[in-house]
């Protein structure tokens, strides 16, 4: 990942952050646009979660990683604390690999 890409992402991010204080009297985000952006972000996150857990280099990544993510997803849906969710994903996947499931 080149430095230029990091700077570009940082600049875009900062633009969203400074827009509020700069334009708060002149700009309002329509509720519909805000909902669409929230949905788009969710679609992107879930698609990234699915591809990064199921695939590796264009092929299947094995069962251990998606299993860890699935357990984490269930715990997160049950509103368990974030550290528990993240650690559960690692522990489930590590245990499966230890048992020979890859």
């Amino acid at each position: 990942m080149p430095l230029l890409a990091i700077v570009a992402l940082a600049a875009a991010t900062f633009a969203f952050r400074i827009a509020g204080p700069l334009f708060r009297d002149r700009v309002t985000v329509p509720a519909a646009a805000e909902r669409l952006l929230a949905s788009a972000a969710a679609v992107l996150l879930v698609a990234l979660a699915a591809t990064s857990s199921l695939t590796q280099g264009g092929g299947f990544s094995g069962w251990a990683r998606p299993a860890g993510m699935l357990v984490a997803g269930i715990l997160a849906a049950r509103r368990l604390p974030f550290p528990v969710v993240v650690l559960a994903a690692a522990i489930v996947t590590a245990l499966l690999r230890l048992a020979g499931v890859h």
């Binding site: 900062f14 969203f16 509020g20 679609v43 879930v46 251990a64 974030f82 993240v86 994903a89 690999r97």
Partner: protein
């Protein structure tokens, strides 16, 4: 009549500490996975300082580690961060310098830029718990400054861990990556149409991964948004 509910300093400290603990664990996992995936050690560190947005950092690095182009990585990260625009509007009253007598023009600008950089899901949530200006400001800055410190130290520790521990796969570290992304998406998935859009998009992205160049399947997933306009 009860005066507007106020958290005491002790409660604020406790809640900020809990959020920092959670994000610290995520930060360690971010630094370690990025380095274990083959990125240079400075990438997660510089990114955490400049971008300072966990979800976008995970997304961008995820695209790159999957072999995607830097352009796709920046696009994915920037799209996730569009939510910071409504956030920054919502807390615009506290991110800047406080009223009169807080230094010269240069210093006021510095405060404004710093406050903007500290705008995250967490600091905004802390600010929005209050309506009075003073506690609002205090909660925002306490959370923002603590989180910025903890996040960057945690990523640094993760980078060190990822460099020292050769076989991070044995510890299941790679599974924390999709787990964080999924957990971040969950609150929005309460809406059934968004859930349908996300499910459709994810299925399409996985199906397209063997055929499309890396990075593009995730962008193609946005086609799932068409589900938002179907009838309930």
């Amino acid at each position: 009549m009860r005066i507007a509910w106020r958290t005491t300093d002790r409660e604020l400290f406790r809640d900020v500490a809990l959020v920092c603990l959670a994000d610290g664990i995520v930060g360690v996992s971010f630094g370690a996975t990025a380095v274990a995936g083959g990125l240079p050690w400075w990438v997660p560190i510089v990114m955490s300082l400049l971008v300072f947005a966990g979800g976008a950092q995970f997304a961008a690095v995820g695209v790159v580690l999957a072999g995607g182009s830097p352009v796709a990585a920046v696009a994915a990260g920037a799209l996730l961060n569009t939510r910071l625009l409504p956030y920054s509007l919502a807390v615009a009253d506290v991110t800047g310098p406080s009223g009169a007598g807080s230094g010269g023009a240069g210093r006021r600008w510095l405060t404004r830029l710093l406050g903007a950089q500290l705008t995250t899901d967490e600091s905004v949530a802390f600010a929005l718990r209050h309506t009075d200006p003073a506690p609002r400001r205090k909660a925002f800055w306490a959370c923002g400054v603590s989180l910025f410190t903890v996040w960057n130290v945690a990523v640094l520790l993760g980078v060190l861990a990822g460099t020292v521990v050769k076989n991070t796969a044995a510890f299941g570290l790679d599974a924390t990556f999709p787990a964080v992304l999924l957990a971040l998406a969950l609150p929005t998935l309460a809406d059934s149409r968004t859930r349908a859009a996300a499910g459709t998009g994810a299925a399409a992205a996985v199906a397209l991964t063997p055929v499309l160049p890396a990075g593009l399947p995730v962008v193609a997933a946005l086609g799932g948004l068409a589900c938002l306009w179907r009838r309930r």
